[in-house]
């Protein structure tokens, strides 16, 4: 077990180092000068030069890379060149929106998706199953931002129950904060719930055909008992994989929904930083995403081992 943990952890660290190098290099190759972007088309060349100097853009690449890496190890992500604030602070501010949004969306998709998947598997081949799967197919096909716009039209513009977008900071009015996350998390959750329902159904149908279920049934368990005691737990592996992927996708991929609901999330921060060539900010934020995604994968792996003892030995 210890060897397994060590190996996984070493892989995690190597992955981070490799990502850091790639992120740094790729962004260094990006054409476009941040100083010129800030000062615009009428700027005099000496003002642009002065700003470049002030932003520390003239040092050699290797020096800047090592400085960046060293800083991050000590928790210092550097200063944003456009916003003149510590990158770490900017990222934390945005995570206060992105993380709750992601978690809320995941919870909704699990609460909706998993029971529906189980129900469909239980009624396999029956009209309920067909209806649910048609619904899930539609849910996967509908883009989340379009669904978000639809939700806004109904619940914000017409009924005026919820705001059309924006975000109230948590410390100011946490109920308001929650209210502003309702529609976006619903929009994000719909496709995820549909995927979860489909995966849950397939996995469960698979498991229910196995010998140990027949044995359980032969011992006198009802179908429902067999599903709950043996079926669901065994069907969880593929579901966990999907959940891990979904979490990573939601943290990094909510930018379109953030735009539709003008939420100050991580996606919009990175998008604007790329446009403004605030490279240090892009690098820091991308690195945080890499950590979140690889850590999620690590946790998923560890959870496998917990759910399925066989993997601990094999790995």
């Amino acid at each position: 077990m210890l060897a397994f943990l060590l190996r996984r952890f070493a892989g995690f660290v190597l992955m981070l180092l490799a990502s850091a190098a790639v992120i740094f290099l790729l962004l260094d190759l990006l054409p476009g000068d941040p100083a010129r972007f800030i000062l615009g088309i009428n700027a005099s060349p000496d003002a642009v030069a002065a700003l470049r100097l002030q932003m520390g853009l003239d040092a050699p690449a290797l020096e800047r890379f090592l400085q960046w890496l060293g800083g991050m190890l000590g928790g210092d992500f550097g200063m944003s060149v456009t916003q003149r604030l510590p990158v770490a602070q900017l990222i934390v501010e945005r995570l206060a929106v992105t993380l709750p949004l992601t978690i809320l969306a995941m919870l909704i998709s699990m609460i909706v998706g998993l029971p529906l998947g189980i129900l469909a598997a239980r009624r396999r081949g029956k009209p309920a199953d067909t209806a649910l799967m048609v619904l899930a197919q539609t849910g996967v096909a509908v883009p989340n931002f379009w669904f978000g716009m639809l939700l806004t039209l109904v619940f914000a513009v017409t009924l005026r129950w919820l705001p059309t977008g924006g975000f109230v900071p948590w410390h100011e009015d946490w109920i308001g904060s929650l209210r502003s996350l309702v529609l976006p998390s619903l929009a994000l959750a719909l496709p995820q719930a549909s995927i979860l329902a489909r995966v849950m159904r397939t996995a469960l149908v698979d498991v229910m055909g196995q010998d140990f279920i027949r044995t359980a049934r032969a011992k006198g368990m009802t179908m429902d008992e067999a599903i709950w005691r043996h079926g669901v737990r065994n069907a969880l592996l593929p579901v966990l994989t999907i959940l891990g992927l979904q979490f990573a996708y939601l943290v990094a991929g909510t930018i379109i929904v953030e735009n539709v609901f003008f939420l100050p999330g991580l996606g919009r921060l990175i998008f604007n930083a790329v446009t403004e060539r605030d490279l240090i900010l892009v690098r820091g934020a991308t690195m945080v995403l890499v950590v979140v995604v690889t850590a999620t994968m690590l946790i998923t792996d560890l959870t496998y081992a917990w759910v399925d003892p066989r993997l601990r030995v094999r790995a």
């Binding site: 990006l30 054409p31 476009g32 000068d33 941040p34 010129r36 972007f37 800030i38 000062l39 615009g40 088309i41 009428n42 700027a43 005099s44 000496d46 003002a47 002065a50 700003l51 100097l53 002030q54 456009t82 916003q83 003149r84 604030l85 900017l90 501010e93 945005r94 929106v97 716009m149 806004t152 039209l153 914000a156 513009v157 005026r160 705001p163 059309t164 977008g165 924006g166 975000f167 900071p169 735009n259 539709v260 609901f261 003008f262 939420l263 100050p264 999330g265 919009r268 921060l269 604007n272 446009t275 403004e276 060539r277 605030d278």
Partner: protein
């Protein structure tokens, strides 16, 4: 009428007026498409900075009014010497910055010294180059000496780039702006909004609004919904394609005006075949302005025939210099030695008017035999290619700086127009302060660049605001960048 009745009536009247006063909102939420990267207007060119802070949080010695005229600001009056080289400003007494510190002549000197310093990062530093010295005469008097007369000096010191800042707070203005304006900065929820509040001890007339939020909404659909739901009260410049939703709606008013943005088909005059006047004339004849304005701005842009704002009294209508004429264009191309036309690239920055105009122009040019390859570029990359490296044939951009015809006098500027006659005229113009004389000169300059067809002159960019119908006092045009809150108020 007994005393009691009249008292009751008076009281009732009082209550009614106070109830009405209470009912009158004094807050406003304004949607803006771009979030400023920082809030210091003296250290960045982003329009989004001025939109939030210009004349709201920060003020200059003078201010630009809604018609583009210079009005007294922190300086209540000034005198100019006969040679136009010495300006003596009398400052307002009793002005304080939002941190409570007093404003005086030292702050003015600090502000201009900072703009002109070696390590200055002011985006418009060049505009203030004529300033030779700034001297504090007494706490309420400042003398500014110029090295050469400058007809635009007063206008330029009224811009956001020259607002007065204090030495104690200047370095933090990017995140915590401290000015002398009628509104003080309260908080910035990055990614969502900036909140300003009326500054109690403000030296001038109190604005009607007590609180203003600028809400950042980049998506057109989201902005439309926010307006319809009443989550925001207006937006200063909304996407033209979304306006029909509001035009027939009595709850809203659509304000159509013009910006200072001359949108041009910028042409690399250094490069063959564009160094040939005949080719440029042919391109000018190939353009159909009406079609471009209809297609790229939904009809809201105003046609221009030169690099000057049509709402300016000195504007000369030169749209007829090279009227749309396909045959003439072909003949000119043949005369220039391109009977079969030629191929070129058109680099487009990521703004809707440029991308749309680009497609229309490509089809118009195809009719005369000029094949354009459209290349979409991201803004930072476009700046690098076009402005820094001058690596382009044609591009489309709106020049939003007011009175910027002087850029044609700089042969190193990106479109590379080098005409000594024009340069001499520009020098005379900057040294001229007499209004009538300036008009004559500036019209001469407009004519030269129009006839030389330096760039393709397309349209003046419109400003299309959508506001709650009960709001008054917004500027329809934007002679300078900014959403000036001082006159905005709610009516019943």
């Amino acid at each position: 009428m007994s005393l009691k009745t009249s008292l009751t009536l008076a009281l009732a009247g009082l209550m009614m007026t106070s109830a009405a006063a209470l009912a009158q909102p004094t807050e406003i939420k304004i949607g803006v498409a771009f979030e400023p990267p920082a809030l210091d207007p003296t250290a960045g060119a982003a329009e989004a900075i001025d939109v939030v802070v210009y004349q709201n949080v920060f003020e200059g010695l003078v201010r630009i009014d809604k018609d583009g005229a210079v009005q007294p600001g922190l300086a209540e009056s000034w005198t100019v010497s006969d040679d136009g080289l010495n300006y003596s400003f009398k400052l307002h007494d009793g002005v304080t910055f939002h941190d409570g510190s007093a404003f005086d002549a030292e702050d003015v000197k600090f502000t201009f010294d900072r703009i002109l310093a070696e390590d200055s990062v002011n985006a418009q530093k060049a505009l203030y180059a004529p300033i030779a010295s700034v001297e504090v005469v007494d706490p309420l008097t400042v003398d500014i000496t110029l090295s050469r007369p400058d007809g635009l000096f007063l206008f330029n010191i009224g811009r956001g780039d020259a607002v007065i800042v204090a030495p104690e707070s200047a370095d933090n203005n990017a995140t915590d702006p401290i000015g002398t304006g009628p509104f003080a900065f309260v908080q910035w929820d990055r990614g969502s909004r900036v909140i300003l509040e009326q500054y109690g001890p403000y030296w001038g007339d109190k604005p009607a609004l007590t609180r203003a939020s600028f809400v950042f909404i980049g998506d057109t659909g989201a902005m439309t919904n926010a307006l319809l739901a009443g989550d925001i009260d207006g937006t200063n410049n909304f996407a033209a394609e979304a306006l029909p939703v509001f035009e027939g709606n009595p709850q809203f008013k659509v304000l159509v005006g013009l910006t200072e943005g001359e949108t041009i088909l910028a042409t690399n005059n250094r490069k063959a075949p564009f160094d040939n006047l005949l080719v440029r004339q042919a391109m000018a004849h190939a353009l159909d302005r009406e079609e471009i304005i209809e297609g790229a701005t939904y009809g809201y842009g105003a046609p221009i025939g030169t690099h000057f704002a049509p709402q300016n009294p000195d504007y000369l209508d030169l749209t007829g210099t090279y009227p749309h004429d396909v045959e003439k264009a072909k003949a000119l191309l043949a005369e220039a030695g391109y009977p079969d036309g030629f191929s070129a690239t058109l680099k487009l920055p990521p703004v809707a008017y440029a991308r749309l105009s680009g497609q229309i122009i490509a089809s118009q040019f195809a009719e005369v035999g000029i094949k354009l390859e459209l290349v979409n570029a991201e803004f930072a990359q476009w700046l690098e290619d076009v402005f820094a490296n001058k690596d382009f044939d044609l591009t489309i951009i709106s020049h939003v700086e007011p009175f910027d015809i002087g850029i044609y006098a700089n042969p190193d500027y990106y479109f590379g127009y080098d005409n000594p006659e024009f340069q001499a005229l520009n020098e005379t113009l900057t040294a001229t302060t007499d209004a009538a004389e300036r008009t004559k000169l500036v019209q001469q300059m407009q004519t030269i660049i129009a006839e030389d067809a330096v760039n393709g002159y397309l349209f003046e960019l419109a400003q299309t605001g959508v506001w709650n119908a009960k709001l008054e006092g917004m500027w329809p045009n934007s002679p300078v960048e900014g959403v000036v809150l001082r006159d905005i108020h709610w009516t019943e």
